[in-house]
């Protein structure tokens, strides 16, 4: 195999959840990929874009383009960052046809982590083992913009010792929404508490997601509520042995 | 009044000129499933019942109606079907009203309104009623109970078939009403209550 893959760990993982990036690299290597980390990477620009600052977002997007253009494949441990790149970058460059062409070319090579494993690497069993009862939270951008629903579950199904319990209601937003979480903090908190109610009802000890920002919101709310329930990124589960 | 003002704003915004032709719309989506008459009748009855309406298929509509209105006052429309079925000659049934005010007064006073229906839609349990000299609007609306008599051949598969047969209902009537179940509301605490303004009791008699 030796498929060449570049990691875009995302600014959040780089600075706050480095273990997620390490786990992702580990799993990709186990799946037979040759992994590199373009050092100039920073952020996809989503915070600026979502806050209405398109010029600033464009600046950051351009930097991303320059950093990753030479990569054969880019793998991202976040549905929302992936969606930003593959769906929204194009909106930023409709006045620059040449850059737009480069964006369209790159879009095809940028993958959300679980999608990459199942669809591109064609792998569902990464040899993971974790004895835990978990529930899975679908990050909204991954779910609705990228169709990430089955892939994580198929991967989790092969983790030895793992029991997955679905929460009801399913597919509900955790309330992070980027700057929404701090601009509308009371509302965001209320949404988080509804989410953790559903989580607690599953009896799971751990919440797994493919989106680090959701995990930050959910874990923050769980801890605040005095709960013992922990959170793990999908990559961390798949890297467990 | 503001006709020119509004139309002008629209045209300017859309970049269209006055009197400019429009391209053809996307083809209307009409898909008529193949469903046997027996299956249509069965579906119609099932759907009406699921909506808390009463539904029967019978060759003796008169007998059914006679029992349904026993001890009650009823007003029947002037639909020839009702006379043919012998319903208008039942004791307690008035019909033949053509004056608007008289009709309204009676409708407001009787227990049951009896009408025919032009069509029925099997997949949703719907009655289709076109206003006409034979069928007034109020009879299926004001009385607290409504009995509709419809020949089985008039049961269509659904909306697609209806609009395929009647692509322009406005050509024949000022009012076509689709009735799907008894009147209802859930406006207070989402609790279902039947018979708010329209009839709370609906009976569909399919004549076989």
């Amino acid at each position: 195999m030796g498929r060449r893959v570049s990691l875009f760990v995302t600014c959040m993982v780089d600075q706050l959840f480095p273990q997620v990036g390490m786990a992702m690299a580990d799993v990709l290597e186990r799946a037979g990929c040759q992994v590199d980390f373009p050092e100039d990477q920073t952020c996809c620009g989503q915070p600026a874009f979502n806050s209405g600052y398109r010029n600033e977002a464009r600046t950051v997007a351009r930097h991303f383009l320059n950093t990753f253009e030479a990569s054969e494949a880019v793998v991202v441990p976040s549905g929302s960052c992936t969606a930003m790149i593959v769906h929204h970058f194009a909106e930023l460059f409709h006045k620059e046809p040449e850059t737009l062409a480069r964006v369209h070319a790159l879009e095809k090579r940028v993958w959300e982590f679980s999608t990459f494993l199942t669809q591109v690497a064609g792998v569902e069993d990464v040899g993971a083992c974790l004895e835990r009862v978990v529930t899975f939270h679908d990050g909204c951008h991954g779910l609705r913009e990228l169709g990430v629903k089955d892939a994580p579950r198929r991967l989790l199904a092969h983790v030895r010792g793992l029991e997955l319990r679905e929460m009801t209601p399913a597919e509900e937003c955790c309330g992070f929404g980027g700057t929404f979480a701090v601009k509308f903090s009371e509302l965001s908190g209320a949404m988080a508490r509804t989410k953790i109610d559903a989580i607690q009802r599953t009896g799971a000890s751990t919440v797994v997601s493919a989106d680090p920002s959701c995990l930050m919101q959910i874990q923050g709310a769980l801890t605040r509520a005095g709960s013992d329930i922990g959170t793990l990124h999908l990559a961390e589960v798949l890297a467990s042995r | 009044m503001s006709r020119d003002n509004v139309l002008h704003k629209i045209r300017t915004a859309l970049g269209r000129g006055a009197g400019q032709a429009a391209p053809d719309p996307p083809a209307a989506r009409i898909r008529i499933p193949l469903v046997s008459m027996d299956a249509r009748v069965a579906s119609m009855l099932e759907r009406v019942r699921a909506l808390a309406g009463e539904a029967v298929a019978t060759d003796d509509a008169r007998a059914f109606v006679a029992e349904a209105i026993a001890g009650k006052t009823a007003l029947a429309s002037n639909a020839p079907l009702l006379a043919e079925c012998g319903i208008t000659s039942l004791p307690g049934v008035r019909s033949g009203i053509t004056d608007r005010e008289e009709l309204r007064e009676l409708c407001a006073a009787v227990d049951v309104g009896i009408t025919s229906a032009d069509y029925a839609l099997a997949d949703t349990g719907t009655l289709v009623m076109l206003a006409s000299p034979q069928e007034a609007r109020m009879i299926s609306l004001l009385p607290p109970a409504h009995i509709a008599v419809v020949p089985r051949e008039r049961i269509l598969t659904g909306l697609d078939e209806l609009f395929s047969l009647l692509p322009n209902p406005a050509e024949s009537t000022s009012s076509m009403v689709l009735i799907t179940g008894p009147s209802r509301t859930a406006d207070i605490e989402q609790i279902l209550v039947r018979g708010v303004h329209g009839p709370g009791l609906l009976s569909v008699v399919v004549v076989v």
């Binding site: 600052y53 600046t59 | 629209i10 053509t98 009012s175 708010v196 329209g198």
Partner: protein
Amino acid sequence: MSTEFAQKSHEALVDAKLQLAIYTATGRLKEKRSDVVSDSALPDYQELRTQANAIKKHTIDNLDHYLEEFERNVEAHGGKVVYCKDGTEVSDFVLSLAKGRAAHLIVKSKSMTTEEVDLNERLEHHGMESVETDLGEYILQLAHQRPYHIVAPALHMTRYQVADLFERELHVPRETAIEKQTALARAVLRQKFLAADIGISGANFLVADSGAVVIVENEGNARLTTSAPKIHIAVAGIEKVIPRAQDLATFLKLLARSATGQLLSVYTSFLSGPRRAGEIDGPDEFYVVLLDNGRTRLLPDKNKRQSLYCIRCGACLNTCPVYRKIGGHSFPWVYSGPIGAILTPQFMGVQHEPALPFASSLCGACGEVCPVKIDIPKILLELRSDVKKSDAREGRNRLEKLGFRAFAWLMTHPRMFEMAGRIGRSMGWPTSTKGPLAAWLSERDLPPLPAHSFRELWSRR
């Protein structure tokens, strides 16, 4: 955000009873919709959405053409079309007609469009009695409140509140049984229907090839409103027009299912003109008021134009995690929920309530359930950009703009980004009582800062 929006949403969030009412009611509607649009219940669902979107797009892109066709056909069937650019013109029209016919009593069926222009208030101000006949709207009229939800207007009220209201306004003994409350309203309103001079309705669809208005309801009050009085006036936004009666085979299949989980609403009326020769009952006069009220302002932008496709089903409200927490009265205008969040800034200007496009986590659930496939999240994002451009022009929120400029600079200087991270981690989370960190901490804990960044760990690998 405005203090009003902050205040109202806060009040909703701390009202535990209200929270339960909103969540339960919307949850029920959400589930019912889900049941009837599932693959087994409606295998054609996605195709129908695509078709509905295509028809709306075509119609709005050629709106003048279809309005004129509609007008011709209304007139061919003995009715009259009146274009009104705003609410004043609507009430002027109704009042002058009423005066000419010595009319005093008006019955109304549910119409968000008439709420938009406060028609009842205007008519009452000029001495008309205008009575809402939809049960929920009737209750709100007595309570002097705005609708809480597009389809379930009195969602926020309990039977006890209704009991108090009826006791006070109708001078009847207090009655808390819902069936009896409904029966009371029925009796009161029946008298109004039968005595009314004019019936004013809305319209769910205006059918161009037939000159017909289509009205969808469950109670029967719209049928009575449009059949009992001698004059029927239908008030509808210009965007309600569809090309053909046959298109109803598509739209009617989507509307009730999306709104309440019913296959079809109890009554669907297809009305074209006054009663025909020989018809025994029905109105003698038929008018359709086509209202602009700012809709033409939504037409120029090709992307945002799709906001006008809305068929007012309310599905987006029922699925929106934000609406389900802050409810309809937190919104500044008659339209609430995701559709309200995109219509209000476009009708009123983005500075009317600059918070609206941002009061969303962009989860996308709304776009997923919209029967006409309006890309609500995309429009919210564009409106956010519009708000910031407007802020820049007016010199507002300068600090925030500076902050994002700094963000862009940092993210295009990787070594600086690295260094900033290292410094931040060594200092630990700052303690502050204001700003984003404090806002975060008001509701949840912060994650512990790691000793090293990913890139530091990677370089040691």
